[in-house]
Every structure is written in C-alpha cells, then in structure tokens.
Amino acid sequence: MAIYPEIKTHRLKEHLSEEVVRIRGLKKSFGSNKVLDGFDLSLYRSENLVVLGKSGSGKSVLIKCIIGLLEADEGEIHVLGHSIPELDHEELDQIRVKLGFLFQSNALYDSMTVRENLEFPLRRHWIVVTQDQVDQMVREALENVGLGHTLDMMPIELSGGMRKRIALARTLILRPEIILYDEPTTGLDPITAGEINELMVSIRERYKTSSLIISHDMKCVRETADRVVILIDGKCYAEDSYDGLSRSKDKKIRDFFE
C-alpha cells in the first residue's frame, strides 16, 4: 500500500479527465530481488508525469512493463483502455504505434543514416505510401528538434545531445499519443539537458501528448513535471506536484531535493 506521509496530495485528476495509463498492484521480481512490489500509477491525457526514484529502484522496469518489453509478475496495466498483459503480439504492436519510447541509450540504429532511422518506423507501419510523403515527414520531424541538417549523417557522427534529439524525432514521427521517456537527460551536459527539457514541454504543448518521464535528475523533474510520483521500495511512496513534494518534511522525500 502506498504511503503518503503528511503530504496533502495535490491531485490534478480533477482537471484531467481521461486516464491513458492505469497501473494497479504491479509486481515484478528478478529472482529474489523484488523490484516492483504493488506499484500504482495513473497517467492522464496531456499531462507530463515524472516518476522519480533512485538508480536501481525499478523505474526503467516500470516503463518496460508498460510497453510490453518485460512481462509483469502480477497486477494490471491498462494503456489507452487495453490490458497490456492480455494482448497477443499483433495487438501489442498496434498499441505500440500509439506509444513512443525514448531510450536512455537513444537506441539509434548504428547501421542506418539519420534519414533511415526516421523512415524505419514509417515504412514498418505503412503510414505513408509515397517517397515525397516520407521525405516530408522526416524533414518535419528533424526540424521539430532543430536538426534538419543531419539528414544523411550516421549516428556515430553526432554528439550525445544530437543523438538524443534524433531519437526524440524518431519517437515523434508516428505521432504517438503517449511518450515514455527513460532518463532523457542522463549523461548530457546541463545546457543540452535544459534544451531536451524544453523540447519535452514543447512537444506536450504542440501535440497534446501524455508523457511518462523516468528520471532522477531534479532539474528535469522541476522543468517538465505537472505531477511527480516517487518510487521507493517498489511502491508509489508519494505523489504530488514538484512544489508540493519539495516542501515535504519526510526524510525519504527530502533526500531527493537536497
């Protein structure tokens, strides 16, 4: 059961009507190591929700369970009204088109150019049929992240920040309804991290996407979060706005802000 120590939970639910991700009682263990132990979470349409937790607390496991890369041991995971554990492979693929996933390591395909990296998801789903349409969508996605000139470059030729932006452009190209960000600013310098934070906020405003951001970078949390969930011991320990949590006197929560 989640504990909400002395925090008057600032629920934004009243302002946000539709629940796009609903997780209840999620459990996941690796051997004897319990990573998630009855985790609950709700993500509403058009909100940026940050899951804050220490390294190794199970944040990445959580989003991998949401997108079906890992199988949960127990619990409910509903995405856009579909129960993820009950879907077969084809149904899961259809849902995944509506989900974007930005990997911590960017996961750009090394053997492909930037253009091919962006074309890959488009061609897989036959969303566009003509080369002109493909070119237009690729150019637009790259311009959104300010990297229109990198079209024919290989990922190895790009800096860490540029690779992150290209990965974001690839995530956006299918116009997902929900974007899952796995440690989006880890390993980036403060200036580039700030630019990525700005991009995440602007994407939400422009495309009305719902975002679940996994992070332990407090600057990223402050700049991007509408709501913050703190993950401790595999459970939702606290849930509030950034300001609400920052005023907490609870030791475990204060540790994140000091």
Partner: protein
C-alpha cells in the same frame, strides 16, 4: 557412487512432495560442469524452434533478406576466393613431389579435384565463413542488444527476430553453398597453376581429368552439407548475439563464442554427413 547418491536424493525429494517443480529438481541434480553445456544446447534448440515457428509466417522481410545476401554473400567473395586459390595451389604443390615419386603425376588433377570438392572446399570455406560472418553477426546483434536497438525495434512494432535473425540465417544458408561452388572453382584453378609451376599440363586436359574423376556421390553430399554448414553458422551467430549481455565485454564474448561454436558444429555436421553418405553407399 556420486550418481547413485544423486539419484537417491532426487527420488527422496520427489517422494517428499517436492516433485511439483520437477524441472528445478532435475536441474539442481545435474553436475555443475555439465549444466552450461546443456543450457547452451537447450538454448540453441529453442532458438532453432523459434526460427521455424516464426520465420515462415508473414510478414516477410524480403528487402532486408536481399540486403543480407549482398553483405553475407557478395562481400565475402574476395576472402573466400583468395583463400580458395591459395588452398588449391598449396595442396597441389605439396602433393606433387609424392605423386611424382611413384610416377602418378597424371593422377594429380583427379586427386586434387576429389579432395577439394568432397571435403577441403566445403569445410575450409565454411570455417572461413564462420570466422568472417559468424563473428560479425554475433558482434552486430550483440551490440544492438546491449545498446537497446533490438528493444527499440520491438517497440516500433517490428518483430526483431524476423527482421534480424530470420533474414540473416536464411542468407547464410543460401549464400554459403554458392560461395563453396565458387571457392571450389577458384581452388581448382589454383591447383592448375600449381601443376604448371613445375610441369606442363594443358588447360583442357586438366579440367577433363578433374571432371572424369568426379562422380555424383562426390558432388551432391558435399553440396548438400554446405546448406547445413550455412544454417549452423548463421543460427549460432544470431543466437550468441541475440542473447548477448554484460555490456561491451559481452559483445566480444558473443563474437568469439559464435566462431568457436559454429566451427565445432561445422566439423560435427561434416562427421554426420560422412556417416550418412557412407550408409547410403555414396562414399
């Protein structure tokens, strides 16, 4: 004695009602040194099963398959050709003095032809192929695995097994026999040059002698086994890369073990094929 005690313990555990998780109990009672081998064999068998279960169902990755055929087949040609040429030349130069001693110099084209077509051509080409392609597949898929590229493919709604594994295994299976045919031809040409370094044999006579000595029983089994060599090399490379872990160190280990295991499998398949052709009376 140890085995008897183990069996007794196992029976005791099952009788005590612990037999519900029989697989776990059996696993615990397998000697530690044997476990990795059995796990490897089981993993490879499961991977092979998945290949046949998933690969032949739509959607087919035809474009990627063609691309892999180009990379695996065409780009291996220079290496396979060079080694084939040297192999034929050296084999001839080493055999020649002994045959000359017994006055059997004229048997040289036939002997070299049979040796190359039946055994040396397929096996040496397969070993070189395992070194070049097996390791590159192992390293490529391994690095894709540790940098989450395979996961990225999966979340973009693409079946990575079909896209990465099926296409590569099919390409190695179909390309190796073609490479072996070319390598055999180049080897025989190398052998022709080897003969003419010290002697004088006409081009027509040499090829007449080679083909006169070759029979269906020499060519067909050698050709058929190369499909199995190619399949084993592709499958092992993909299996090792696809299940790579432990970061960059794991990538190196995947590439290395892909070469070692696929080379061993080439010899095992060769051994089995010899037994089969022997039973069929083709030897």
């Amino acid at each position: 004695m140890t085995t008897v005690i183990r069996e007794y313990d196992l029976l005791q555990q099952i009788n005590q009602g612990k037999g519900t998780d029989l697989i776990k109990i059996i696993k615990l009672n397998i000697p530690l040194k044997v476990r990795p081998f059995l796990e490897e064999a089981g993993g490879l068998a499961g991977f092979t099963g998945k290949f046949f279960a998933e690969g032949f169902r739509p959607r087919y990755e035809f474009q990627e398959f063609i691309r892999q055929c180009f990379i695996i087949g065409y780009k291996s040609l220079p290496l396979v050709g060079l080694t084939g040429f040297i192999m034929g030349l050296v084999l001839t130069m080493q055999l020649r003095p002994n045959l000359v001693q017994y006055g059997l110099e004229s048997a040289l084209p036939g002997m070299v032809g049979i040796a190359i077509v039946r055994e040396i051509g397929p096996v040496i080409t397969a070993l070189i192929f395992a070194g070049k392609i097996g390791s590159s597949i192992g390293a490529e898929l391994g690095s894709m695995k540790v940098t989450e590229q395979i996961d990225a493919m999966e979340v973009s709604g693409t079946n990575p097994f079909k896209y990465l594994v099926f296409t590569r295994v099919l390409a190695t299976t179909l390309m190796l026999p073609i490479l072996v045919i070319l390598s055999d031809a180049i080897s025989l040409y190398g052998s022709y040059i080897g003969i003419n370094i010290r002697g004088a044999t006409s081009f027509g006579f040499y090829w007449d002698e080679v083909f006169r000595n070759l029979t269906f029983g020499d060519v067909m089994p050698a050709f058929v086994k190369t499909y199995f060599f190619g399949f084993a090399i592709g499958l092992v490379g993909c299996h090792k890369g696809y299940h790579s872990n432990k970061g960059t160190e794991g990538v190196g280990r995947s590439a290395n073990s892909a070469v070692v295991l696929s080379s061993i499998l080439v010899f095992l398949i060769d051994l089995i094929s010899v037994q089969i052709t022997d039973l069929m009376g083709l030897n």
